[in-house]
Assembly symmetry: C2
Homo-oligomer: 510 residues x 2
């Protein structure tokens, strides 16, 4: 291989070292389609193997380190990111085409540092420990670190869900687990800059050098070996259903916990009385939600349920007009665009019709026309699985049902989702129908919303960014919200009749 630029190094065992690479890749700017002039390695298993051994040693050392020191590292890392904001925002903008503002600089990066600081507070307070002490029987228990955590970050959040800085990272570290981050190749340089910030924060923190490690890319087989290796405690994965299912299978076979956030269609139901009164307002909210960030959110509405009426037709015209009149921004990559087009075609083949969009946009960058599809309730009910294909990008499909009965039937066909939402009129005129459909929708989603698009995921202790399979792998866990998200990366440790001086500090006394 001859290239003008040096291939980036991987971060293993506290050192930036040459990858034992089986290949390289060169990220592009999706706004222009041009190469960004950087080269990153595709790691062989030997890189992972080294990282796993170093992580296991780090896990043992971390067991002896108080939460205060872990908290100090997370805080220091957040400060490093603040200090280096300009460079990392520019890198992410170049690699993802996501807007600097409003988004990377003023929304996503502050969210990320806030998350790290909330995790630091939890590490300091031990709020994730769930301490239970039975003095009479002298049995004590609490949650303890689960072991090295592998974090696969997704393509669509270069900061907030990045394997080396995002929610899974913060949660795993807060519980005292080392992290092996698998950066997403679509923002490799951004990840490198963030890892460098983490490395600065790690220095002098008193934490083991291998508390954080990072590689950029592995082939499928290597990924499967990674999530099923005996040395790991658990895996966090955010990404496509296809990749997630393969990793889940491998981890399940090995008996290793894996927390997946795979796919969600986020149904939004617009009830009829409200729709008539709020046609334009609600159409604008849906249109905004489906086009912001080119719709590349795991909580973007893919499905809008409406009962056939004149108001529904007006609503759909409004959405179509909004889609047509706004300039579509570039998607994250040519593959993202190809897959969006494939999904739109598949939905069409399954019985949906295209109201507007459904095609690539000319000019520079990987742009796709914002796409509105529609399908009847009858068709949806007859092919519910084919018509529940996630179309990742600036798209939405309206399911226009004949009447209330068909609405409830259609909702009953929904697979597991992160969110579900009902828009209804404030007067109470939609409440009868709401009462019928709410129990059906409730069972299908992790977070139920009223009168509000699901696209924002607040970092609140009460948040659930999770839901029934196949949105995730288990309906009891959330990927956002502290301390609950931390608990995913813990094991329950019980001490029965153990001598006082041998108890871990958090279980002594009382």
């Amino acid at each position: 291989m001859q290239t003008a630029v040096a291939t980036a190094k991987v971060w293993i065992g506290g050192e930036w070292r040459e990858s034992d690479a089986e290949g390289v890749f060169e990220p592009e700017n999706p706004s222009t389609g041009e190469k960004l002039g950087r080269e990153f390695p595709v790691s062989r298993w030997s890189d992972c193997d080294r990282a796993l051994t170093a992580a296991l040693e780090a896990a043992h050392e971390l067991e002896q380190i108080p939460g205060e020191k872990i908290a100090a590292f997370l805080d220091a890392y957040a400060s490093e990111l603040d200090a280096g904001a300009e460079a990392v925002v520019q890198a992410a903008h170049d690699e993802t085409a996501l807007p600097v503002s409003p988004r990377l600089k003023d929304v996503e990066l502050p969210r990320t540092t806030d998350q790290l600081r909330q995790a630091a507070a939890a590490a300091r307070q031990g709020s994730w420990r769930r301490v239970t002490i039975d003095r009479q029987k002298n049995i004590r228990s609490g949650m303890a670190p689960i072991g090295p955590v592998v974090v696969f970050g997704p393509n669509n959040f270069p900061f907030a869900f990045n394997g080396v800085s995002g929610g899974d990272f913060a949660a795993a570290i807060a519980a005292g687990n080392p992290v092996i981050a698998k950066a997403h190749p679509l923002h490799a340089y951004t990840s490198q800059l963030m890892a460098e910030a983490a490395a600065r924060a790690l220095k002098g923190s008193g934490l083991p050098a291998a508390t954080v490690q990072m590689i950029y890319k592995v082939n499928h087989e290597t990924g499967l070996k990674l999530v099923s290796d005996p040395r790991i405690g658990a895996t966090g994965f955010t990404g496509s259903k296809g990749a997630g299912m393969k990793l889940k299978h491998a981890a399940d076979e090995a008996g290793k916990p894996i927390y997946l956030e795979m796919s969600s269609l986020n149904p939004v139901v617009f009830l009829p009385v409200g729709l008539k009164e709020n046609t334009q307002k609600w159409a604008k909210e849906l249109g905004d939600s489906c086009t912001a960030g080119s719709g590349q959110f795991c909580t973007r509405p893919n499905l809008a349920f409406l009962i056939a009426s004149d108001a529904t037709e007006s609503f759909l015209r409004e959405v179509a007009t909004a889609f047509d009149s706004r300039e579509a921004h570039a998607l994250l990559s040519s593959t993202t665009r190809d897959q969006l087009h494939e999904s739109v075609q598949a939905l069409k083949a399954a019985g949906a019709t295209i109201v507007t969009g459904g095609r690539n946009l000319p000019g520079k960058g990987y742009r796709y026309a914002s796409t509105l599809l529609r399908v009847t309730g009858k068709t949806f009910i007859s092919a519910p699985h084919k018509l529940q294909r996630e179309a990742f990008g600036n798209e939405v499909m309206a399911v226009v049902v004949a009447d209330e009965d068909e609405l409830v039937k259609a909702l009953d066909q929904l697979e597991g989702n992160l969110t579900g939402c009902v828009y209804s009129v404030a007067s109470g005129a939609d409440d009868g129908l709401h009462a019928r459909l709410e129990p059906v929708l409730r069972r299908k989603v992790g977070r139920l919303l009223n009168d509000k698009m699901p696209t924002g995921v607040a970092v609140s202790p009460a948040m659930n960014h999770g839901g029934p399979y196949p949105a995730t792998g288990h309906p009891g866990f959330t990927a956002v919200g502290i301390p609950a998200a931390i608990t995913r990366f813990t094991a329950l440790h019980c001490y029965d009749n153990v001598r006082e001086e041998r108890l871990p500090l958090f279980l002594r006394g009382e």
Copy 2:
């Protein structure tokens, strides 16, 4: 099929009905090997299918029923069991050969009713809900029932882990889930009596008739269909590793949570200074723990670790003498005895030697000589997986290591276990070695004990009856201890901006 007795009925949809049976089985008294004169059906899929449909309807109804009513049912059920204690104890004694006292009457049944009452208290208080309210953002969340739960009870606890009365049952019901119990065929009549008590308690409780259902036996294929059916929420399984792994595979593929308690060797480490001072006392404790209930406990020590010394030889002689001098009681079935013998033979083939036992006992009943094996640390380390085969029954294997280093190495080879225990001298003379091995052992077990046999599992909120794979399927959950055990059968439900009057009662106000 012509038989003198009527085949027992299955309990489906609130009715005792003829099973759509593909066969029947007739339980034996393992103390005598004689048939007990009762016949039970092996259910076809159609029985399960009916039960699943009824359970799903019941699950929807239960969502609207306050915890107070669920609690009242659990309390009433416990009272019914108290009132009918004599018959159910006799039935269990006949079917399992476990002693009436101390065990079935005065230990296991009171434990079972206590568990039901603790679950009732939790249902009343909602202590399992983990309510989190973010008033500022108006986001609220808490745990909610996961849906119909299938419970497979094990052979060794006719009451306390029975699918229709045990820990998983109580936990699933407390959270508002209907249960489909798969009784264990080795105590089918006991299960029938308990289910009849549950049916009496259900009458007039205001709960749906299909809140509890029960079948007796299914073939493997039907079992796999059951745990992966879209209508269920989750499965609880206690039993053998072989059956557990197959069910896990099916449930994982379907994306259905399954909580397994499969296999555990419960290593006990006897440290040298203490051993010299307490040779007889500790030998007696180990001997008692391995022979009580014919050693048929998931927390019975299978492995005893000792450093080679004269004291170790004395200790092993004491254990052997205790084994030889006590009358061995019958095992649960001829299959249990066959499997115990197979395991002993397999351990021998892997390098262990038989100190005493290793053979069937003559006379009536399925009795096996209490068996002590020994193996060197070197051999254990060279074939750690073959030598970690659970031998279910009155057996224990001593791993005699050469020195401290070999002890730590051997412990590092342990697979996941429910418990691990260290016996050491009170003076502190064993503490140096303890400090070396504790971190190694801690990672391998759910419950760590000092100076105490692991066989008792107190129903305490601080208990962990769980541990790393393959002892269970996930190290974060416990099957005993309320409210934690309840949380296994729940899903996280979040309400974001949902109108006050639409919130579930437990999330309103504040």
